[in-house]
Symmetry: C2
Amino acid sequence: MGLTPLDAFGYPPLFMPLIVQKYGGTSVGSIARIRAVAEQVMACQRDGNRVAVVLSAMGDSTDRLIDLARELSPRPAPRELDALLATGEMVSTALLAMALIDLGCPARSYNALQLPVETTPAHGRARISRISAGPLGADLEAGVIPVLTGFQGRAPDGSLTTIGRGGSDTSAVALAVALGADECQILTDVDGVYTADPRVVRDARRLEQVSFEEMLELAGQGSRVLHLRSVEFAARYGVKLRVLSSFRRGPGTLICKEDPDVEAPVVSGIAFNRDEAEITVEGLPDRPGIAHRLLQPVAAAGLEIDMIVVNAPRDGWVDFTFTVHRNDFEQACSLIGPVAGELGAVVSGSDRVAKLAVVGSGMRSHAGVATRVFEALGSAGINVRLVSTSEIKISVLVAEEELERAARTLHAAFRLEVSPAP
Amino acid sequence: MGLTPLDAFGYPPLFMPLIVQKYGGTSVGSIARIRAVAEQVMACQRDGNRVAVVLSAMGDSTDRLIDLARELSPRPAPRELDALLATGEMVSTALLAMALIDLGCPARSYNALQLPVETTPAHGRARISRISAGPLGADLEAGVIPVLTGFQGRAPDGSLTTIGRGGSDTSAVALAVALGADECQILTDVDGVYTADPRVVRDARRLEQVSFEEMLELAGQGSRVLHLRSVEFAARYGVKLRVLSSFRRGPGTLICKEDPDVEAPVVSGIAFNRDEAEITVEGLPDRPGIAHRLLQPVAAAGLEIDMIVVNAPRDGWVDFTFTVHRNDFEQACSLIGPVAGELGAVVSGSDRVAKLAVVGSGMRSHAGVATRVFEALGSAGINVRLVSTSEIKISVLVAEEELERAARTLHAAFRLEVSPAP
């Protein structure tokens, strides 16, 4: 492979498509996997592209570093924890650059301080504000593959920061924006975005394409193919995102802006999430401000509240139901207890519930999707405990043991196993 | 402990002595050891000093990173190997800063890119050219303990570099120079510099003080308490160096400029080194340029030649003896062989030899030290195979099995077990 590969038409590199590829921790989990990634990167270059790479830390190395810090302190100093964690991606990027060079392909690793990748100073959950991709431009023109550490950045005072778990996806999108890349590819252990989790719904189908909004709803519902923030970021800057397998070749799923000339499918996919718990407060006086008074202590404790439903008042009393993350269930109950007690209400709940969401951009212009959801679940004898809707999504809460059957029922009801007619 | 501790006389920090402490890999080899180092650093601060710390990587982590790189490539790309190795000190410094903060002492870790520590671009053996210690000054004034990565630097193009094994000592001295520190303390697993290796010479004595020149000769002869370059660096910039134990308190050994008003001891210590091999070429014609012709292939192969002795010519023939590192013995023999053959000379040699050096600044003004060395070894029946002398050192080569007895004989002959009269 020459230093400056020409494309199929003999154009110099500047006119070749520019791809940012991001590989996750599993994809670089061992020396053998790193070598395989190097070969995949080189294949992308041989296909006539300029390639820049963003990496996560190897396998479970971030967890091991966190364990080390916890051994030292129950609450490690955030600035120093970030400095520690940032070494994980520095290791994987140096190793991949080494592997590429060993295979005859010029490469250079860069960490967040070296570009720099500028972020806000919020340690552990910083946000990328700017990437100075200058030196990478020269590399790309020279056929050198730059390999950048994901997940990390530099605070205004020069400290290392991290941008939260899964943040390497966001790093990749940010780099694609900075470089004006033609596509940002997220290479992972799945080969695309599916109409539902194929482990549960056997005839689930890989989607060729999905809109940013649909992907946001799917990602927010537990389809953890992509980090939520990276999709928002890509949508805001109009970066084409593609989810691909790092284990075998294939077209993956393209995530991009909705094409207004093409009719969007009514339903694109079904996402679900077992991490739910439901809390019901019965017999509350129907007074203004009751919801606030009830939820304020939960919100103040930093617990995230998801679905909220208040039923129509009956004889001056209302019932109130909301969901929290399953891990927060007990804490939420004990926070709600005293307030409910003061109001004479009764708290009950369950952490054995699950949430399903039917997602599709075409829902906007099609009535009757909700009806079809209730009809299908009703025919299957599955009880819907809570419902919430948004423009392109209908979410329902069901008993956990009904989750898989509900997913298969809805997948079949919307005939998702069949590609929509072109 | 307050943010800005005052000294015993109530002076603000600016007037407090400034100490740079460097801890090696063994000293930070585990979480427990890191916590112990944090306590030792805080004790130094409590004694009324401002303290900056330089660290090596934890235990054998550098070796483990090298193994990882070797698994990927027999000859890892030097730039990427440096980027990989530099993470070792980033881990230890972040953990020490965390430990200090956890114990209530404000601290901040810095890596070489963050100051930066500027070096030449020679990967794996870079030299420090400048340390911009600006941010550390503010930390020290505020009672914050800065913790800097040793061993690493930043090349002019922004790449990470490393300055060679043991280089953290040099990093510490360079930081002491940059900060104008009062003392640079090297904390290690020995509690000072000894008149001889105490594992061999049981009544070896810790030296209170030793001159830079003596230390250079001792370090060059295998007393691996300090990295050679760090002593040169300290001598050049007049930084007081002190070798101390990181396991127990004590005064250690101060390494500093010779005081011209104090008579230096004739002999300060005895160093020795088993890594020697001796090669003799017999029956060379006594012609100008013979030594060059013989040694040129050895030097060209990058092998280091240490002692060289040519005996007085006899009937137009000379014998020629030199020493190389034991690992280079076979290569040197095979390089010398053909040249010797052309000249009709015979090559013999042994890799079972060892070198002893008697070192002392006072030698300069005292004749008869060499005589005493030969007399002592002769009385003990130890054969001296080669001799070389410098201003403050006499080196002799002996059979390896005689080494320990020779060391004890010379230690006794110069009465090194007794402190010199003040």
